[in-house]
Structures are given as C-alpha cells and as structure tokens.
Symmetry: D2
C-alpha cells in the first residue's frame, strides 16, 4: 500500500489591487498571493472523499473578502490575518501558509513633483513574505525581496582563484559586477513595524553593495549580509542569492582595437549562482 | 516559377553594454540591436550562391567594432553610424535598417544621494529607435519608447457607449485606468538633439496622462498625442498604443460587502487595445 | 490642430476553449482571439464622445456568444463569422479585423493507442489566421503558423560568403541548422477547405526543410516556399521568417580535444533573421 | 560576529547540445545544466580569499570537456560523471550537486515516416534529474519531468466539498481537468537503466491520468502516484505537483444561451496547486 507522506494544496497567483482613496494622495498596491493548506487529507487522496476539502476557489474568495475588511498596512500583517481566518474556520487543517509578492508601484514624477493619483511601475523588484503557522504554534515569518537588478562599474575584482587545466577565465582586477538580488530574512518577533524594518534592511543591502571593494561575489554577499544584520536587530538571519549576471568584455584585438573595459556583451546563459545564509553569531 | 517579391535578413538581439569611466561619475548603457539588410539576393535564394551575402555574424562584429570607435551619445546617432558603415562597405545592398532598444538603467540612490558607479535597472521601460536608409535616399528616423506601465486612480470615466444585447459592462464614472504605453514618433530632420527631444516628448506624454480628465482611453491617448506634438516641433507625427490593462472591481456583494473602488483584480487576458497615429495638422 | 491619421481599437487575447463531446472521440480546441475595429472615431478621440464606441468588453462577449452558435470547423471560418457579425451590427465601423492563434492539442497516446477524451499540448507551434474585411469589400485572408521549432543535423552548409576585415565566422561544409519557423500565406479565394489546404502547406514546408541540401538559410527558405506554392494552388504567395537559431561548436582544442560536430552550445542571443515573401510567378 | 550558516555556489543554465552522427539515424539532445558546490568557504566570504574558489566559468568548461569524452546515455549518468570529476579534482569541496533538464526533441515525421536527420521540438515537457553527492557518501538521485500539459474532457467531477459563507463554486459532476504535470521520484539504487525506468513511470502516470474517474485533483494525483510506484519497483517514492489549470464555463445565460460544457475560458491566474509525496508503504 502506498503511503501519503506529505501533502499541501491551495491557490496560487491570486492577484489583488488595493486602492486607498481616502486622502488626496492615493495609495496603490498590487499583490500576488499564494495560500497553501496542510492537514490529514488521506481520505480525499485515497478515496475521493471531498468532505474536508475547502475548495481553492473559496480560498480566493477569502482573500478578497478579508482584503475589504483588513486594516493591514503591509503584506506581513495581511498574511497573518489570512492565516488566522483559515485556521479558525477550518478545523480540519493542521497548518496554513501564505506567500505574498508586492510589485513596485510609485507615484509618478511629472513637472518636477510627485503626482497624487498617478502611478508608474518602477522596476521588476518585488517585496515578498512567506508566513507559516501550524495549529497551536506561533507564526514563522520570512520576508524578503527579489528581482532587484544591480550593477557595479567600479570596485569589483576577481583574482587568485583555483587554476586547473580547464581554466580559461582571465583574472580581473577591475570588472563589471551585475546581479539580480534575492534576499530573505527571518524575524525574531511576530509583532514588528515590518515596513520600517524592511526599508532599513533594503537600504543597508544597497549601501553595502555600492560601497564594497569586492574581491568576489561571495565577498560582497557576506558584507551585505553583515550590514543587514547590523542594521536590523529584529532579524535573526538573512539568506542572499546573487546570480552573477555576466557582462563579457568583447575581444576587439581581432579588429586591431583595444578594449579598456568599454564594450561588453551581457549574457543570460549561463550565469553564476552564489547563495549563502548568514546568521547572527554569539 | 516562383518570384522573390521581398526579402531582408540580418542579426537580431545583438546585445551591447557600453561603459564610460572617463569621469568620476560613470555612464552605463545597455542596448539590444537589430540589423536588417535588403538587396537583390535572388541568386542566393534560388541557387545557393552566397557570394553577395555578408554573414549575420559579421554584422554582429561590426556592431562591436563601431561601438568601440563611436562617439555617438544616443541610440539614434549610433544607428546612423552603423547604417553608414554597412551601406559604404557593401555595395550589393540596397537598404539598411537598424533598430535599437535601450534599457532603463539609473544611478542607484543610497544614503540620500546618487552613487557614481552603481546602477539599478529602473523598470521595464525601453527607449527605442528604428532607422532605415535606402541607398541614395535620406535616413528615415522613427523613435519611441515602450513598456512604460502606468496607472491612474482618479480622473477616469467610461460612459455613454453603445449598448447592444451583448453588453454587460457597467458604465463607470470613476474607474482605474492602467496601461503599458508604447509610443513612436517621426522626426522632421536627421540632425537633432535626439535625447533632448525624446525627454521633452516623454515628459509631455506623462504630464498629459496624469492630468487628463479621461472619458475613454481614446480620449486620453489623443490628449497625450496633442501634448507631444505641441512640446516637440521637431516631430511630424506620433503613434500611441495603449492597451487597457483592466483592473476589475471585485463583486463583494455576494459576501454582504460593498466595494467603493477599493478591491480590484488585475487581469492580463484579455485586454483592450487602442492605437492611433496623430499627425501635425495644417 | 492635430489630425487623427489612423486609428484602430479592439480586444486582444480573448481566450476560448471549445469542446465537442457529441461523439465518443472528443474534440478540444484552444484559441486566442484578437478583434480590431476601424472607423471614423474622431469625436471619440477629440471630444470624449463615446456614442459610437462598442466597448471592447462587448467584443469579448460577442466572441463567446458566437462561439456557442457557430458551426465553424476552423479558425478561418470562425473569423469570418465574427467579422460578419461586427460589420452587420455596427454601422459606425468601416472595417473589422480578426486574428486567431490555435494551440497544438492532440489526443494523448497511451498504452499504444490514442485516448478519446485525454489531450496533451504538443509543442509550441500555433496555427494562425488574420482576416480583414472593409465594408463593401471582400475578406482578405492570410493564414499561417508560427513557433514551429526545427533542427537539421545533416545537409546544411554555409560557404563562399563575403569576407571582409571584420569576418571571423569559419566557413562550414556541414553545420547544424535550427530555426523557429513562422509562415503566412494568402488565399486566392475566401471559400476553401482551409484545414486541408493548411495541412498540405505545412507538410510541404516540413518535407522541403528535411530533404533540402542547404547552402544557406535563404536557400532552404526559398525551396520551402517553392514547395508550398506547388503543393497548394489555392494560395498566391507565402512569407517565411526563419531565424537562424545558432548552435555554436564548442572550441575544445583548448583542452586538447577535437570536436567533430559533436558538442555545441545553443544560444538565444543574438540570432540571425531571414525573411522573404515569395509569389507565384507567371 | 555573523556566522556563515550555509553556502553553495555554481553555474546555472549551462546549455549543451550533443549530436551523435555515427549511425545513419542521428541523435540530438539538448540539456540545460546546473552545477552547485558546497564546502568550507568562510575565508572567501569573510576575507575575499579566493584561493579555494573554482570559478564558475571553469565549471562550465568542465561540462563541455566531459561531454566530449562521456559515454553517458542519459542525464543521470552524465550528472554522476560530472559530480565524480568535481569531487575528485577539488578536495576543498564537501558536496557537489548537478541538475539537468532535457528538452523534448523528436525525429520529424514527414511523408509518413520518421526523418533520420531532422528533428522537431515536441512540446514544453522536460525530463529532469537532480543528483547530490556528499564526499564519502553515496549519490542521492531524484529524477522527474515537468511542464507536461494535459487535459481530460471526461471522467472528472468535483462535489461534496466544504461549503461556507464564502463558497461560490458550483459543484460539478462533469468538468474539464487540465494540469501541467511536474513529477519527481527517488531511486532505490544508483545503478539502474534510468531511461527504461523513466519511460515506465511516465507511461504509468499518463495511463492513470487518462483512465481515472476523478473525484478531485487529489484523487487523481494519488491514483497516478500509486500506478507509478507499482510500475517501477526501482523507486521508493514519488512527488507529484498538479496545478489545476482552470477552464471556466462561460455564463451564456445572459445572452439567452445554454452552455452544456461546450464553451470555456482558460485562465492562467489564479490556479489551484495540489502537491503530494507518496511513499512505498510496508
């Protein structure tokens, strides 16, 4: 007999726009929400007994119903409300998980000032959260950001690495360093000014990236993590994923030209992948 | 016998990064370039005679070779240089066309100021140009922008339209109006301060979008075109494509809730498409 | 005064699944439909007068309403029905255009036979049509296919091309030839067994691609066009777009290895673009 | 002091085409490879000491170097060779991980037979493997497939689920059931005829999907897992992820029409997500 070792189900990509037009300066938020439930659903899987199944369509409705009533001012607070509702109303589930991605919308600048009711989508960057609660336990909150595309044109080297018979990469004292940053961090508490802490972490990551004298992607990643942990005592650890989005120096010597770090080819495939989780030490 | 009615060939998605590190404040540009050539290539098609074919690989090399030498300060000027080179060195071709898309990279703001050597990709917007020159004729220049994602949360209505037996759309005095703007315009001259004119057109389009009391997408599109033509006497016409990226008001009455333009579902499929070309009148 | 030189508007990406379960062997079709209308809409653009505007939402409803009643057996016939309906019910429009893309769904093969009610999406290939009718004129029908990804591992060379100081491409007697085929053709009549003609054209294109001794992409493209025109007397011309999706031979001599056309790197950027329109001659 | 809790780095999306032209019937394979290494790299992260870093560029070279020499006939065998090479030549690493995705290329059928040297890309489905080896331990092999897009037009119901005040989904005795299947399974041994086992699992999944009288996605998922475990005694467990790619029945009653499961709207957002891991029981 097969055994159902693990299962989860839910609704993905529930898209939500929330507009606040109470004040003269409007607010506009766009979220994509995923809800996942766990529980003892063996009879559903093995026998087709749906009596414990909350349809994923109802999860979607629940998102909109709660959004209307919610006073949450950030994705973390709304996730907690949604989880609370699901656990309270569905005794058959043992755990609920909510992930939210928020797109970057900003007030449009035009004629030298910020327009109160017009917005522009400002980059591919998204703010993220992933919150899980098992029945009878506390929230586990992991927030972050992703798709923040960055480039350093100075202060980046890569030298002194392993050379073996298959090495063809030239050492570089001064190279371009581009990445698409993904970060996630774990909060020490469930009641925090999440947006303020997020802003502080984000700013510390960017400042460290910009100012670091980089000897490798790893070296800069660690400096960024160190900075974020110092800036935000509310978090216990941070994980950074920094693909190395290569810009290759074009070999122009074939055409009798030099190329003093002037002309590059950006490539998508392949790319380096560097990832680390850094904890607060003792 | 079949007849070769039209043909063109070339290289697409030649990617180029140009870095200028002469001054303390670096410059970083990322372009994607397409080169297309036309000519009497019947013997190539019909007989496999390649003696007149400039390989597309060589076109790619030409892009990098010229980029190293070029003093062009914008995509229009570089396109012209590239076309000139191709027409001069390839007597067998009758016309050359170059398209360039430039990504939006900006200096990163951190610690309250712009960092001189760190950049962030600022949105999906691209600046575009498409230039064609037939041998013996002048350049035809069409520039533009695309993927500029905008949203109005006020000043947008849609009422008084045709009602027929298949109409289900409710009239709206006050709706969200989102779009992903594509614009292209035709210059009256080939020697212009292209970047300054581009900036002036872009700003006029944004200002008109933000301030317009919109009765329809068409109505706002036309106001934007009018504004751009007034702001930039250097152009003869402008074409705007403005998909209506719908945000649907969620029907919460099923759950006993009102929804005073607060909670919406953004959808990708289907979307409205509104397009017009507006010329300078007499 | 600005002048409205051209305008069109409509609904894009109206997605439709049509299931026929009349017989034991079901039919399953998935279409994406675009509707575009033209007319004298100046008052709408210039004054915000919507009295002549058929909402794009109603166009979407019209698609579903007609799909329910339609006995069309192919995308061309359904497009014609939709255009007829729109022109008949909307005297204010001067022309209607419909484009449809059909995805490739096939009955699933399992246990050695075709399953009557289970389907698998078979590749990225789509079948296309684009039909325009101006009021008082006849239908103009252009059908085609796109995203048909093909590869030849034999019978492809590229030699004897122009060599200039920027040439670095080695001549190749025997190379890989990959493409993502797009084709479109124009019918000589509006009443045809469209599906049968389409199948005949598609088969002739594939047979020619497979069997051709290719001296260049252009050479093979022309042979394919010639074959299609011979196979389908119902069409007047065919346009083929064949990007050269490069697979680059890896230089393994750096590691003391030969590479007799064995190990390649497929690349997406850049790619060659070869396009031609071939007509039936006299 | 921060602590480096975990780290891994490597190269992603190393693309490889392998052509075998030894026999009259050619073979064509396209793989995308990811290599990830783990080890004690603290000095690299904390101090910028690169002396233990094998550059990701060298990992890419290693892929091509080994591919030339390899006699591996499947992605599992090649992954094992690559891991062996990396562990043997890099004493500083503690574990190596390789993931490979293989695209679906098939010989083209034309003129009623399979062409020996022409291939067509047959769908979005990819075959996958992910193999990890810690130094001193054995290979852990997980293989699978993903992006296999399927549809049932009969034999699918969803009834008897939880109804709460937010329920709006109508019960369905007979609905469409579409999914994009992802599967992964764990082998009990490292030396197996991987391709034969894979084919047997894939066929059993498809047969179960097609023939199942489905009471829910969960119900069918479990039946498929059961079938795969029965068909392949070489695996210990299987994880299936089956998004519910909804096709919504269009409400045509607004237009006075019925809609007996004939006209649907396929939607991408949101979608259900159903996932389970099923083990071989005792």
């Amino acid at each position: 007999m097969p055994q159902l070792a693990e299962n989860r189900y839910g609704k993905s990509r529930v898209r939500l726009v929330r507009v606040n037009r109470q004040a003269a300066i409007h607010e506009f938020e766009e979220w994509s929400i995923e809800v996942l439930l766990r529980g003892d659903f063996l009879s559903c899987f093995a026998e087709g007994d749906n009596s414990k199944i909350l349809p994923t369509d109802t999860m979607k409705n629940t998102v909109y119903f709660l959004a209307r009533k919610s006073s949450a001012t950030c994705i973390e607070e709304f996730s907690k409300e949604l989880i609370e509702y699901l656990l309270t109303h569905n005794p058959q589930i043992s755990a609920a998980e909510v992930k939210i991605e928020e797109k970057s919308w900003q007030h449009l600048n035009t004629e030298g000032k910020s327009h109160p009711t017009t917005f522009v989508q400002a980059g591919s960057e998204v703010q993220t959260t992933r919150i899980i609660r098992k029945r009878g336990e506390d929230f586990q909150i992991e927030s972050g950001l992703s798709d923040l595309v960055l480039m350093k044109t100075a202060g980046s080297a890569f030298e002194g690495y392993v050379h073996d018979p298959l090495t063809t990469l030239p050492e570089a004292k001064d190279r371009l360093f581009g990445t698409s940053l993904r970060a996630s961090w774990t909060y020490l508490s469930n009641k925090l000014p999440f947006t303020a802490v997020r802003n502080s972490i984000r700013e510390s990551l960017l400042t460290a990236f910009a100012s670091h004298q980089s000897k490798s992607v790893q070296h800069t990643l660690y400096a960024m993590a160190e900075c974020a942990l110092a800036a935000a005592p509310q978090i216990s650890e941070i994980t950074l994923t920094m693909p190395n989005k290569h810009c290759l120096l074009v070999d122009l010597s074939r055409f009798g030209q030099d190329n003093p770090n002037h002309i590059f080819v950006p490539i998508d495939d392949p790319h380096g992948t560097i990832e680390a989780r850094v904890c607060r030490g003792n």
